[in-house]
Symmetry: C2
């Protein structure tokens, strides 16, 4: 049985979807025991509202929690009994195997950094994200690519980018079953000489290393296309790119909605298209995907989206279990020392 | 009469659309005299194919030109009689008022740098681009925002970013008639402390300057939304963002096309939607927009898209004329010394 420490506070929708997701998982045939970390009374009250197997859910009390708008480091200093710190400590002490949170991303990274060690060869950790692509990936034809870093490490050295490439490849191989994931550096041109100094040097390092299926540089065009399985960039660029994809998706939805309101003819057209649009929406719906890892610590960490519903939490818990079952941390260690 | 030096070689579609655009402009009631720079025989032959006013078009010979795939600096060294160098020299010597090219972007920047001076306060020049937005901009409700830099200067200091902000604001005010353009820095968060070191420092500089309508930082989400009139970023980020927007647009078109092929029902839906889709396509069609400036030189430079058709060239020539009529360079000087 895998023990998952779930920070059950501070998500956009409060504790309810988190408890509900954990309750649903407890009734499934998945070898996961969930430890809900947060306000004891609130969590027990929420558990009463959802059918669950009480042999597979525990509650560990934490008297406080980090809000989405809080400054991460200062808040952790000020609130030592907050849920994310308690959840991370539980994993560090061996009381759980994997950390999951849908709360303040910066606080998750800081809390992990206080309780866990960084792996050898890792100076800075990377926050991963999946993004929708036209090209499918791997044997399951997953319509998503992996991108890292998307905001944990804003500015990177070449060595840090190379470590991200190795960790991203390792994760993609283990979790998406892609035998030799195509890894690429995001740059302003395909030639090895294109990019910032760090990107140019990282290109040379990865080319010389020879241990990855390194596809060289890709351009902005290739991100939605899905040319690579793993896209590597510094956090500043990754954050902008990822949020822009969200923005484009919102813009397309708004345009469709306005057209819809404007004319009956459009409404008819949209109705006829709707099953197709539904499929596209399904493909790009982050709620299906439980979350993405923070890579570089000696314990597995899964960050779920702040707006996760119960289904997303269920998927995050399944993903968390996979990282333990497949020995992600040991595999990361190997990939970094190659 | 404004004299426009049009580098008539090296665009994706060859000289034909360039000559055709110039021919069409010569018959219009626009005070532009076009100097076509390139292979004399080829350009005269092309002119014969398009009705034009020969009093308003000249040809200046250049025996060679830069290809799209050429390395800019080395090629300019090797081919001193190439069309972009000759066109830039013509402007520098007073033989023309503005430089326009649809050729190799790097070669345009390098040729301009060899013939022109940088303005006081400009260490590095900026390539601008327009990008489609949901929110309209300015009194003409232009569905485009301005972004700079998108590839001329990959890595920037804070001072360079601040100069880009001033120049972008000035250009937007003069050309789009926006009285006090909203200028923003693209970053990974809205707070003044978010971003790379250069972005954080540029934020402080612009806030302290007080001469612009500085809206602070915007995030990736705000790019397609169009929150700001002028988006400022370093060239590495701008290039990736811009190409990603192209990639998303291609992806959406492909998805629509596949849906179209797949089912009669989709086809019917698309047909009903087509007038709406056509409007969206029109709004986001770069061919309508002639080009975007390279800002920072003491002469105006317009870069048209490599794939420009005759209509885009006509618009680029009109835009070039506006930069001269409205005294862009003098206004840039004023905005930089404030």
């Amino acid at each position: 049985m895998i023990r998952a420490a779930l920070d059950a506070m501070g998500a956009d929708g409060g504790s309810e979807p988190l408890v509900q997701g954990a309750a649903q998982i407890s009734l499934e045939n998945t070898p996961i025991h969930v430890v809900l970390v947060g306000d004891r009374d609130a969590l027990h009250a929420a558990l009463k509202r959802h059918r669950h197997d009480s042999n597979r859910i525990d509650v560990v009390h934490a008297s406080d929690y980090v809000r989405m708008s809080d400054k991460p480091a200062a808040t952790l200093d000020a609130r030592p009994d907050c849920s994310i710190l308690r959840a991370a400590e539980l994993v560090a002490s061996g009381g759980a195997d994997v950390l999951i949170s849908a709360g303040n991303t910066g606080a998750v990274i800081h809390a992990a950094a206080r309780s866990f060690q960084r792996l050898n060869g890792v100076q800075r950790v990377a926050l991963c994200a999946v993004h929708p692509t036209v090209e499918p990936h791997g044997p399951k034809r997953d319509p998503f690519g992996l991108m890292l870093d998307v905001g944990a490490t804003l500015q990177c050295t070449a060595e840090e980018l190379a470590a991200f490439a190795r960790m991203g490849s390792c994760y993609s191989r283990l979790i998406s079953h892609i035998e030799a994931p195509k890894v690429a550096l995001l740059s302003n041109g395909c030639e090895p000489t294109k990019g910032t100094d760090a990107v140019v040097q990282a290109h040379a390092l990865l080319r010389a290393g020879g241990d990855l299926n390194f596809a060289g540089n890709i351009e902005g065009l290739d991100v939605p296309r899905g040319t690579a399985d793993v896209v590597v960039c510094e956090g500043f660029v990754g954050n902008i790119v990822l949020k822009m994809l969200e923005g484009v998706s919102d813009a397309a939805r708004d345009l469709a909605r306005n057209a819809h309101a404007a004319k009956l003819r459009y409404r008819l057209g949209l109705a006829l298209l709707s099953s197709g649009l539904r499929r596209v929406r399904e493909l790009t719906d982050w709620k299906q995907y439980g979350g993405a890892p923070i890579l570089g610590f000696d314990q597995p960490v899964i960050k779920a989206h702040g707006r996760s519903n119960a289904r997303a939490i269920r998927n995050a818990l399944r993903l968390a279990a996979k990282t333990v079952q497949r020995g992600l941390v040991d595999e990361l260690k190997k990939s970094l020392t190659r």
